[in-house]
Symmetry: C2
Subunit: 345 residues, 2 copies
DNA sequence: TGTTAGCACTCGCGCCTCCCGAGTGCTAAC
DNA sequence: GTTAGCACTCGGGAGGCGCGAGTGCTAACA
């Protein structure tokens, strides 16, 4: 059943009032504050209808109405208007983003903090994961007798490196042998291509240098696979500004969840895979029990060609969706620019 | 004025009861639960004395006493007995620490989580900083035409590296020239030695390669200086288990403070510089206003020779000092071992 | 037929009051 | 010096009350 234009207006007014005040909203208030040209009584009738249809709820008989999850869903899908950041907000944002960044993780976590400051909600970020990237090259740099730096470059243009210590001294001959062996045999492959059987064969083929090869290859595999995405959480304390979390048990539940990287990483991995755009999960839609009365707005960002990470904002279901979505869109664009600038592309 | 043996016993009993229950403790309870062979009335008299001397406080007339900061201070200095972790606790600890670690920051943050789990308090870690380290060597690895990896090794045995992008293509000749120039002119120096004037001279001397040199040297400087220590915070939600933080405003204050890396880093830098051992700041002793009614227990850990980081536990002033100190000592020892194992020393 | 005014009814919330009990300090007796 | 007894204090929880915001229904109006 379609909602009449009038019902839509009233529903929007209710949701926006509730988002702003966190108090159940009554018919009189709507009549007074929004210029709908309707009396409280008429609005009351419409509200009763909207409740029957499932868009509104009553916390108790003699209070106003609050939006249901279904109400919020309809709001974000059909009613919500984009909010434009004010000039001051934009200026502040610009300032924080013009800092010089040099490392991927640094930028991303910094941006996460910026978003928290703008939206007043906690922000979670999943650093990019690279599952299907292929090996472009491997360099082994001998730093000391038993210490080398292994540099792995993937075709997504990402460079990873790690120090590796050996139990025995290693000479340049060994390094060269292993390097060229890898160049010949592994370049162009992705994680799935390098099977354990293949690895065994390689180790045998290398004879004395097998141990060295093993260490290097296992790091290469790790770079190509990178399965447990690293996450960063910024501005977590912002959640406490919302009256929904003034109950200490509710707050504890939230922070316990957020404290665990695995939880957050798992949650993010469930989200935003469907669309390229911004995706919104309201309350129980996230499928994560601890987050049953929070909403999450997630955007994907791209690093270079193949890599993508996720950046999301967590708030109560009574979140200021319009503002959050606009801020996230706006920043996500700039994030792309900055990342590309860093990667020199 | 010296405390009599009897006063010490009573003070200890009061503090330990208060730590356990978070409720003001009364004379009757002490008489009943601790076998001191004294009546409530006697204990009452002693308590009045202890209050006069500043070791105890009364929240209001008709409640029991709670320890003052001075009381806690005396407790940790003179009364506290080391707590021994139970067999189960040790086993659990061992299990979490036996995981294979490969990267410094990974270990340290993991250990931080472990400590939080054992102590039920939040843990803060400052990753090692290296202020007085001297440059041992610099390697520049050309990855692509405009992309190089700069590897800096300090005499503390620490290797840092970063990708550097150039605006123009760079060839091997340039790389070699800059490398050998740095080797000749900068090796053996620490951050303070490399003055701006000296840098200017160097840039001029290098002529065409000046820009390249500039980029590399600024990274070198950064490695040698490393002024804003990176921090990690684990188990922050644990703070909410303490009734002191069931007031939402108090909780918000704590989380806002903790949310900012700078705050935490600054706080840690104020602490534990005096002794090699574990240092305890009670309430206002930390000198940080937001932390006025929390206590912080900090230990230093060593990485290799010259590097040291800090690891600290934050709780209410009514913190279980005995347990926290023992856990921290115990884990800090193991941390040293693990770090050394990783560094292969 | 849709809209509005009026009115009785509901019910959460804040406020006040009162009482209980834990704890103290003092005094007097042992 | 220690202890028992007692009057006094005061925070906090329980219960009662009234206010006010909000509803749903009915009846009148355009």
């Amino acid at each position: 059943m379609e909602l009449s234009q009038r019902k839509r207006m009233i529903l929007q007014a209710i949701i926006e009032d509730y988002i702003a005040t966190a108090e159940p909203v009554g018919s009189r208030n709507i009549a007074k504050n929004h210029d709908l040209g309707l009396s409280a009584a008429t609005i009351r009738n419409e509200m009763a209808d909207l409740e029957d249809m499932g868009y509104l709820e009553k916390p108790h008989t003699s209070a106003g109405r609050i939006p249901s999850e279904m109400g919020y869903r309809f709001y974000v899908d059909s009613l919500m208007q984009r909010y434009s950041l004010t000039v001051e907000e934009l200026a502040g944002l610009q300032k924080s983003m013009d800092r010089k960044y040099d490392q991927l993780e640094g930028v991303i976590s910094e941006i996460s903090d910026v978003i928290s400051k703008v939206t007043h909600y906690p922000t979670v970020v999943a650093f990019p994961r690279e599952n299907k990237s292929r090996l472009r090259s491997v360099r082994i740099v001998l730093v000391e007798e038993k210490l080398a730096l292994v540099v792995v470059v993937t075709d997504a243009g990402v460079v990873k490196n790690r120090q590796v210590r050996f139990s025995n001294a290693v000479d340049y001959a060994a390094i060269d042998a292993v390097s060229s062996f890898i160049s010949k045999n592994l370049v162009g492959l992705c994680a799935a291509d390098i099977t354990p059987a293949r690895m065994m064969l390689m180790y045998e083929a290398m004879g004395d240098y097998g141990e060295l090869l093993k260490v290097v290859v296992s790091f290469v595999m790790e770079c190509l696979r990178e399965d447990c995405a690293k996450v960063y959480i910024g501005g977590a304390s912002n959640i406490l500004n919302n009256p929904e979390f003034s109950d200490i048990d509710r707050a504890r539940e939230f922070f316990s969840f957020i404290d665990s990287r695995e939880n957050v990483s798992k949650m993010l991995s469930l989200m935003g895979n469907d669309s390229d755009d911004i995706s919104i999960k309201i309350g129980s839609e996230s499928g994560v029990d601890e987050m049953r009365d929070t909403s999450i707005v997630v955007a994907n960002y791209n690093v270079g060609d193949k890599l993508r990470g996720k950046i999301g904002i967590i708030g109560p279901t009574r979140m200021d969706y319009a503002r959050v979505v606009s801020s996230l869109e706006m920043i996500n664009d700039r994030l792309g620019e900055i990342l590309n600038r860093i990667l020199g592309q």
